[in-house]
Symmetry: C2
Subunit: 212 residues, 2 copies
Amino acid sequence: MSKVFVNIGLSLDGYMAPEGMTLEHWTAPEYKNWGAKWGSLMGWVLKQQYFRTNLKFGPGGETGPENDMLRKTMERSGASIMGKRMFEQGEASWPEEAPFHTPVYVLTHKKREPWVRPGGTTFYFVTDGPESALEQARESAGGRDIRISGGANVIQQYLNLGVIEELEIALAPVMFGEGRRLFENLCDPVPRFRVDKVHEGATVTHLRYVRE
Amino acid sequence: MSKVFVNIGLSLDGYMAPEGMTLEHWTAPEYKNWGAKWGSLMGWVLKQQYFRTNLKFGPGGETGPENDMLRKTMERSGASIMGKRMFEQGEASWPEEAPFHTPVYVLTHKKREPWVRPGGTTFYFVTDGPESALEQARESAGGRDIRISGGANVIQQYLNLGVIEELEIALAPVMFGEGRRLFENLCDPVPRFRVDKVHEGATVTHLRYVRE
């Protein structure tokens, strides 16, 4: 059966995204220095061959264990779920061949027809809540796993539903000071995890937690 | 020259202490379940021989690498700095022979004569701010290192002063949901660290960062 997992980058002070990284300032990465901050969080990803190929960044890139981790994350994913804000930022950034190659369920309040992209990604717009999105993702994942992609608010909703079984965090040694926190708005009883695996990357620490 | 360092336990969601863990509820650990939450954060420490001996908990305890880490942290410390709330909680908890065996500088607004404990710990009450406390700690540390013990607010003050050179975090796979966050109230430019060392403990992940 499909597992439900999260795989994200996190700043040491607990942010998924720096202050100022919004669609409004998407083409102004110097605004509140969000571009540099985001780069310090995700720099390790941008260097990996698998990511570069998938995002059409061109040839080259690292091919070590962190590259393998990215590939495995992609290969295990049979469907993704994301919030509207993350989708809109991606819509402004992804290549025409969006980098998922599976169904992607977008939590939103606005109805919209499915958006089919070349390369196997179709975005479905779900207006009846996170449980419905998860159910649809399960049906379409073909036994592969379901990635809760983000943003923070969406991950919080699924943590509070108690359905997240694996939490994979690439913890970067950077502090944003402000931005969108991953861990807030959690309700009692908070989910319980144990450390499953730790991998020391070149610049970030890969922490893998599984639900107890 | 003395290094200034932090060595703390942190919940996965970024808290140093759970909601409800205040002097007012010190003898009621069931209040908001703070006792169990604190235990899940610090349980690994309570099991170590070095800690048990130092806190007069009695004989026995683990003697592996995590025990060595506790011993090294204590041995490197020539002075500590803490906030008034942490001091007051300790005052209500420590054995007569307080577990520092060095000068301890307590940041407070209330003047008080130094409090000499058996075993080498003397508490000095500093009313003229964190920089003065650090200066006094440097003078008394005899070349050994200076530990910023906590709580969260005191560590934030020293992070914002830019003086913390090493940040050692025992990251526990527990979520508190609410409590006292370590990383907030940070001012730009936020301090810059790099990962120095990662050690996988039995239940927590020991992350060591050094200032860039």
